[in-house]
Amino acid sequence: MKTRNSEITPEYLYLSRREFLKSVGVLTAGSLLVSACKSEDVPFKEPEVKASHTPQAMRSTDELGDPLNSYEDITNYTNYYEFSTDKTSVSRLAQDFKISPWAVAVDGLVHYPKTYDLDDLMKFTQEERVYRLRCVEGWSMVIPWIGFPLAALLKEVEPTSDARYVRFETIYDPIQMPGQNSSWYQWPYIEGLRLDEAMHDLTILATGLYGKPLLPQSGAPVRLVVPWKYGFKNIKSIVKIDLVAEQPTSLWMAAAPHEYGFYANVNPEVPHPRWSQTTERRIGELSRRPTLLFNGYEEEVAALYEGMILSVNF
């Protein structure tokens, strides 16, 4: 059954409910200990009421005028094979995933290698970016991300002149991520960008969506978003960013080299063996719509690929 917005418990309420349960636990344990003394002064910790975290976006459409997908759809229909290959099971399997403490090690061909914790990442100016996400499977969404340009982080660590590519790695934790026990793939998840793609202003590290921190199923606490590429390039739950000289081999390139190339730019002219890339289904819409070259960001990014044959460098 569809859950109406009004039926979803706001985060600050359920958080306080948890606090409540916790304090009841403390209370019970406490009263057992002190019952002999008949103390009635076990403090009932008043839960801190946090600011409302109901999903909110600054804009209601993308720059082409298409409406945002709902928070429910975005957070309940997710490809995250580390948890499950079933898109609708991910949110349940990921709900207890620990995102704190977290560390992203930025290393490799840089002048100032640095390990960022979550607070460090949140120090970058966070902004909302409404992007289309086009999955290689032929469906798409419009998502209001919160994040910051990857370029801002890369400028801090200063890539050396030998750095040509950026290699990203997801956390490897098969206990928390049951899908990583599957031997069909070489874990951990790896992705890569050419340095100029990584430095492009559209490329962001996302920490939230719809005004809220990312949920585990969406790649919490920090994930890549490159809106002109197929969705699988947007590596989730990143723990490692390396500047390298050679083109990295992504998990999908290793799994099926004829199907997934390094670039994976959205391109209706480059067919995939299974899914039509000429059209797509926008989640929530009945009829298919034409897929746009570079997912509609042609003006911004086409220059990156000047002179390249896109059907060869797919």
Binding site: M1, N69, Y77, T88, S276, T278, R281
Partner: protein, 215 residues
């Protein structure tokens, strides 16, 4: 009541075969079919057709090896329902997903190997469903049996369709394929003869244990 006592297998077959459709319609109505209901409905009807095909292929070996002759009359309906779900599967794909856009459909079907395999399987199932009636059986005589052996091809194409559709994780498609391969192996004359004789020996209907004979 007499009808139910004599034909309860058939009744269970009808009810069981309609169940996936009922659940699908219910889930659709309740909005419980993921954020991408067309895709979910396509996958579910495809899987229903595949499961029904495997049940159909299991009937003959169940009779040969276990002597369950009452499953034989169910084959016709299992086949019809498999074709029925394959038809809905295709109708959702062509109608709901592609809005009967023939230009898009031409590319979606004939440029993807998985779609070609599935389409061919569906055409065969349609032909077999049409000729499953008593009238066609009479009209075709001996050739009817030969024609209906094409269900082996349809089932094989269906699992190939499924394998080619999978990304890299072939676990489930390979499981279905293995079942189909096993059910086809059990039909090889030497093996089914051996199975039949083994069954008769174990149930003491013949006194000599079976030997593998090549003649």
């Amino acid at each position: 009541m007499v009808w139910i006592r004599n034909k309860w297998h058939l009744l269970v077959t009808h009810l069981g075969a309609m169940l996936p459709l009922a659940v699908l319609l219910f889930d659709w109505y309740m909005g419980d079919l993921t954020a991408n209901p067309i895709r979910a409905a396509t996958l579910r009807t495809g899987k229903s057709a595949l499961v029904l095909l495997m049940l159909l292929l299991a009937c003959t070996p169940l009779n040969t090896f276990l002597g369950l002759s009452w499953v034989l009359p169910l084959r016709k309906w299992l086949g019809i329902y498999a074709s029925f779900y394959a038809g809905i599967h295709f109708a959702i794909f062509a109608g709901l997903d592609y809005g009967f856009d023939l230009v898009l459909l031409r590319d979606a079907i004939f440029k993807k190997r998985y779609a070609i395999a599935g389409f061919a399987s569906g055409i065969i199932l349609l032909a077999l469903a049409i000729t499953s009636t008593h009238g066609w059986k009479e009209r075709l005589g001996n050739r009817w049996k030969q024609l209906h052996r094409l269900v082996y091809l349809a089932a094989s194409l269906a699992v190939v369709h499924y394998i080619w559709l999978a990304k890299s994780d072939l676990g489930e498609p390979l499981l279905y394929s293995a079942i189909v391969v096993l059910l086809l192996i059990l039909r090889i004359p030497h093996i089914s003869r051996l199975g039949r004789r083994l069954r008769l020996f174990l149930t003491r209907k013949i006194i000599y244990p079976p030997r593998i004979m090549f003649h």
